[in-house]
């Protein structure tokens, strides 16, 4: 696939996507309060409103995990092991507070215990933000109490959070969401590729919000003025685990296709809808993260799947790839039904069960994708 040359704005985004803690560590060195989040349901707006710097903490999955191998069970996601190891090693010491989200409850338990034993003395203060994501009234009071507790906890570490500060933070993140949605449109028209898009979106989790908005805006205007990428199959990617890397996208590009959307907060679902400016700001933030952040905790299935069904129905989507690596314990139960639904819609489906983080898995995936795309008529021919 032919790729246009990208300018300084994209280089900035790609740099921070690769060097994930650089900006936050610099802010820490400059005396700012830095609050880490593990998982995408911890609202950045609360951290921003407290005058602190938010940073998403992610796992380095290549990391050796000698201590985690003693304590953490192999059937837990590799992310749990590597983040545990990072905590024990003192990687999070620069944070003023670390907030874990509900999907990381087990990591929370393991860190709690190793800290209690005195074997992870460099862990910063940490807390769990237990947002339940079933879409039903029964969990409302619990969720409302949890976000109020989190506001207090953050306020204790940084500045006290008030409504005016929340409104300002919402304004900032909503304008970033608008930019990210524009980026999504450029993906659909073929001006921005999937691998590039993942970096441009993902950088937002690691950069200061203002600098990110600037860099993203420049990249978008540059890309919009540039040529479209050469035509190839448009792919919708469904993933069983959050994709904090571009491996799957690269493999799909190498096979001559392009991911134009993925059901993942690391990609096309980073923005979602704006946070409402009509409600009480804290309520609006709660609603947004409760109902519009895709995690495996969303229920009922219809709520979990509305977005992917709309995307699958897009006429410009040529194929659907479902990435279900060995760590999956959830999406596999939906897989036969989803694959059938997509096929009934007339969309070719490829299931990938190998691990894109391992060399062996990557070559297995490559050998499955090649014949899959070759078997789909249309666009690829036109590209040659």
């Amino acid at each position: 696939m032919q790729k246009p040359q990208r300018g300084a704005a994209f280089q900035t985004l790609a740099h921070h996507y690769a060097h994930r803690q650089e900006a936050a560590r610099a802010a820490h060195a400059a005396g700012r309060k830095v609050i880490g989040r593990i998982g995408h349901t911890v609202p950045t707006e609360l951290i921003m409103a407290a005058g602190a710097v938010p940073i998403l903490i992610t796992a380095d999955l290549d990391r050796k995990t000698p201590v985690a191998d003693i304590y953490v069970d192999p059937e837990l996601p590799p992310e749990t092991r590597t983040l545990f190891e990072a905590g024990v090693d003192g990687d999070f010491e620069f944070l003023d507070l670390l907030v874990l989200s509900r999907p990381y409850d087990k990591l929370y338990y393991f860190l709690k215990e190793i800290y209690r034993l005195g074997r992870a003395p460099k862990m910063p203060p940490f807390a769990i933000y237990d947002l339940m994501q079933s879409q039903r009234e029964a969990v409302r009071v619990y969720n409302e109490d949890r976000i109020r507790d989190l506001v207090k906890r953050i306020g204790r570490i940084a500045a006290k959070v008030d409504d005016a500060a929340l409104v300002a933070a919402i304004e900032t993140t909503n304008s970033t969401r608008a930019l990210q949605r524009r980026l999504g449109n450029l993906r659909a028209t073929g001006t921005v590729g999937g691998v590039e898009a993942m970096q441009a979106i993902g950088a937002g989790y690691f950069m200061d919000p203002q600098s990110y908005a600037q860099a993203l805006a420049s990249f978008i205007s540059e890309a919009a003025a540039g040529p479209a990428l050469s035509a190839r199959h448009n792919v919708l990617l469904i993933t069983a685990e959050p994709l904090g890397h571009t491996n799957v996208h690269q493999l799909i590009e190498a096979a001559g296709a392009n991911v134009v959307a993925e059901d993942d907060t690391w990609g096309a679902r980073a923005a979602g809808d704006d946070i409402s400016t009509k409600l009480d700001p804290l309520q609006a933030i709660l609603d947004k993260y409760w109902s519009d952040v895709p995690t495996t905790g969303v229920w009922p299935p219809a709520a979990r799947e509305t977005w992917m069904m709309e995307q699958a129905a897009r006429s410009d989507i040529d194929a659907i790839v479902m990435y279900i690596p060995p760590s999956d314990r959830m999406l596999g139960w939906d897989t036969p039904r989803l694959a059938k639904t997509f096929r009934d819609m007339g969309k070719p489906v490829q299931l990938l069960f190998h691990d894109a983080l391992r060399d062996k898995g990557r070559s297995a995936i490559a050998s499955e994708l090649e014949p899959f795309f070759a078997g789909i008529p249309g666009r690829k021919e036109a590209a040659r």
Partner: protein, 438 residues
């Protein structure tokens, strides 16, 4: 697939062996009741079409009990399939349906039996479609059952234990509002209202809260008998009853907890254990080594626990099942029965493996049961931390590589060799060392 006939043969053989190992009278009365109960279920539900529910192990069965809704528990049913040596067949069947290997089969064999239209030898003739489903929200196979049956699914979202208390069992009976956190109890109680509404529709009547309170108290009383049994096992000079039989008895009663039968059976169980201990009727009179069993039940082969009596005088004295019955279920002072229930289940089972909670408990159990070593089944999150804590406390642990219900992973000879080596190379030397210092 030739599995059913092979399975039938293996089943016959296992049954003969099992019967020759049975020491307890209550094992016979339990089996008789199970047969009778299942016969009733078959008549009323499987043939008569009476609506029934499929539920998880950690949901408030007491509510269904109080509404007279028959129910089966997914993991219990999976255990049943395993005991009939059909778990291998049904695990493969799920593969064929497109459910990949890494998905837990522990609860999902229920779904497999429901989906299977080929096997002529289904356990008890298979399962009709349920009218209500209630499990943990993470049990996606229940969502699939809901989709194929059209029955409503009430998911339970357990609130995270944000303030873990390692020695939880010291608080669980009376101080549960503090132990579990009132806000966590509220969270579950609110979800129970959804379950009650759906269950009332199925039952066609309103929940009687007085009756529910009675049931909760009857469960307390039943678990008190289990507590007595555990105390006898801890303090008697030798083991009065084999672990496989104890586990079978405990679970057989627990699945019917809240009923008058369960209460009476628990009492008879206590009476028999007490009688055996008073009269020095030991499971293995030549008892030399006491082992604990950590983790899920080895349901495909409970008789495995007796294999090491003859050669080593090694007995298994303890499992999670009896001990959690005593430490996990009892809730006193439940004026509000829904809150008492919510507290009973809000950390149920997780307290056995949440790091810190699981290890503190295992060490306490090892101490009170005077064990020399532990056998710990893999495939259970949290178990490594528990094993590590036991090892640090001087209890050697064998990490046993087998899925609790998957018949495909069971290799009798290999398993026997693993345990023998463990006893010879780790337990005996560690015991000898302790004896020197003692």
């Amino acid at each position: 697939m030739s599995a059913p006939t092979d399975a039938a043969k293996a089943r016959e053989e296992a049954k003969r062996k099992h019967e020759s190992l049975t020491q307890l009278k209550v094992s016979h009365t339990l089996r008789a009741y199970q047969r009778e109960w299942f016969e009733g279920l078959r008549k009323d539900v499987f043939q008569g079409g009476q609506p029934y529910a499929v539920v998880g192990a950690l949901v408030p069965h007491e509510i269904l009990e109080a509404l007279d809704i028959p129910f089966i528990t997914d993991v219990w049913y999976s255990g049943l399939v395993a005991a009939k040596r059909q778990s291998g067949y049904y695990s493969n069947f799920l593969d064929k349906c497109g459910y990949h290997r890494n998905l837990s089969r522990y609860a999902a064999l229920t779904l497999a039996v429901m989906l299977d239209e080929e096997n002529p030898d289904k356990p008890w003739g298979g399962l009709p479609m349920p009218s209500l489903l209630c499990t943990s929200i993470n049990e996606r196979s229940a969502e699939v059952m809901s989709a194929i049956s059209g029955a409503p699914f009430i998911p339970i979202e357990q609130p995270v234990l944000d303030r873990p208390t390692p020695e939880w069992w010291k608080m669980s009976r009376w101080q549960w509002e503090d132990l579990d956190g009132d806000y966590r109890i509220d969270a579950l109680a609110a979800q129970y209202q959804d379950l009650i509404a759906a269950a009332e529709k199925v039952a066609g009547k309103k929940l009687d809260y007085d009756r529910l309170r009675e049931i909760i108290n009857r469960v307390n009383a039943q678990e008190e008998y289990f507590h007595e049994i555990r105390t006898i096992i801890e303090t008697a000079p030798k083991l009065p009853a084999r672990l496989g039989e104890v586990m079978g008895q405990v679970m057989g009663i627990q699945w019917h907890r809240g009923t008058e039968w369960a209460y009476q059976q628990a009492r008879a169980f206590r009476d028999e254990i007490k009688h055996r201990a008073d009269n020095q009727m030991w499971a293995c009179p030549n008892e030399q080594i006491r082992l604990m069993y950590v983790g899920q039940g080895l349901w495909q082969n409970l008789d495995f626990f007796t294999e090491f009596e003859e050669k080593y005088g090694a007995v298994f004295v303890r499992s999670n099942y009896l001990s959690i019955a005593s430490d996990g279920y009892i809730r006193y002072g439940g004026r509000d029965p829904i809150r008492a229930l919510a507290s009973r289940y809000v950390t149920m089972s997780e307290q056995m493996h949440i790091p810190g909670l699981g290890s503190a408990w295992a060490i306490e159990e090892a101490r009170t049961h005077r064990v020399d070593g532990g056998l710990s089944i893999a495939g259970w999150w949290g178990v490594k931390t528990v094993n590590q804590a036991l090892e640090e406390a001087g209890i050697p642990v064998l990490d046993f590589p087998v899925d609790a219900v998957d018949g495909n992973t069971w290799d009798e000879q290999k398993m026997r060799a693993l345990v023998s080596n463990f006893i010879e190379q780790r337990v005996l030397p560690s015991k000898a060392k302790k004896n020197i210092y003692a």
